[in-house]
């Protein structure tokens, strides 16, 4: 079984923001293409660490994780592989957002 750990603050940015690449240098679309797509394609388990970032805008998390479903990834497969980790309870709401956006995303958006 292959496992990959993505620490957003260390591996991507401490200031993730925006939906597409025209919205800024640390957008949800860039995070998806650079980290999530390869991780979900090549691994059985994907651990995403949320700590170290001073807040996630919903446009970023929706584009990154909901966008996976729109790109053709099966939402049940994503949910089975994905584990979201954080040390501080301040990140609970973002975890709930991510799971919600994956469940709510549809291919025809």
């Amino acid at each position: 079984m292959t496992v990959i750990i993505i620490d957003i603050a260390k591996d991507f940015s401490k200031y993730p923001s925006g939906r597409t690449q025209e919205d800024g240098p640390a957008s949800g679309a860039l995070f998806r293409e650079k980290h999530l797509v390869p991780a979900f394609t090549n691994n059985d388990k994907v651990i995403v660490k949320l700590d170290g970032v001073k807040g996630y805008p919903s446009s970023f998390t929706e584009e990154a994780f909901g966008g996976l479903v729109r790109e053709g990834f099966d939402k049940n497969d994503i949910l089975a592989k994905l584990t979201i980790e954080f040390e501080s309870n301040a990140y609970e709401g973002y975890r709930d957002d991510i799971l919600l956006y994956i469940k709510d995303a549809t291919m025809d958006e």
Binding site: R19, K54, E62, N89, D97
Partner: protein, 156 residues
Amino acid sequence: MEPATFSFAKDLIAPIVLSGFGAFLALWVKEQFGKSGEKRQLRTEELTLLCDKVDLCRTLSSEYWRNKYDDKEGRQKEIEARIIGLFHGCNEILAQAAFQQLSDKSNISKKINELRRTVTGSNFGKSNREENFDKLKDIESLGHEIQALVVAAKRK
């Protein structure tokens, strides 16, 4: 009538032990009340801070969704960063130990996350945002609802 007899254990030691236990109990009760008072004071201060942050979130978010900004001045990115940071600050306050016993915590937290999703979702971060009256109405209503919940929690 039997003559009064002196018992060392009953007449001398027992009162000393009892009065010592009484003093210890009084001190323990005082200490527990003191600790609970300190916790309550800390929680009240944090709730006041939370109320201020929510108020600022509501005001800034309404301002953001009512206006378009000139990208050259960097004003939009600046206000976006402040909004994201303020919401995270609210979550950090609620994650503190003093709030773990607060019965309203889950409700307040749920509403703050709902407000955050409303504010920072859809086209948040895009320069071609349209003014959105439904969103503005939701921001104002949720913001006031959270502040009322926090004020009610402070009174408990």
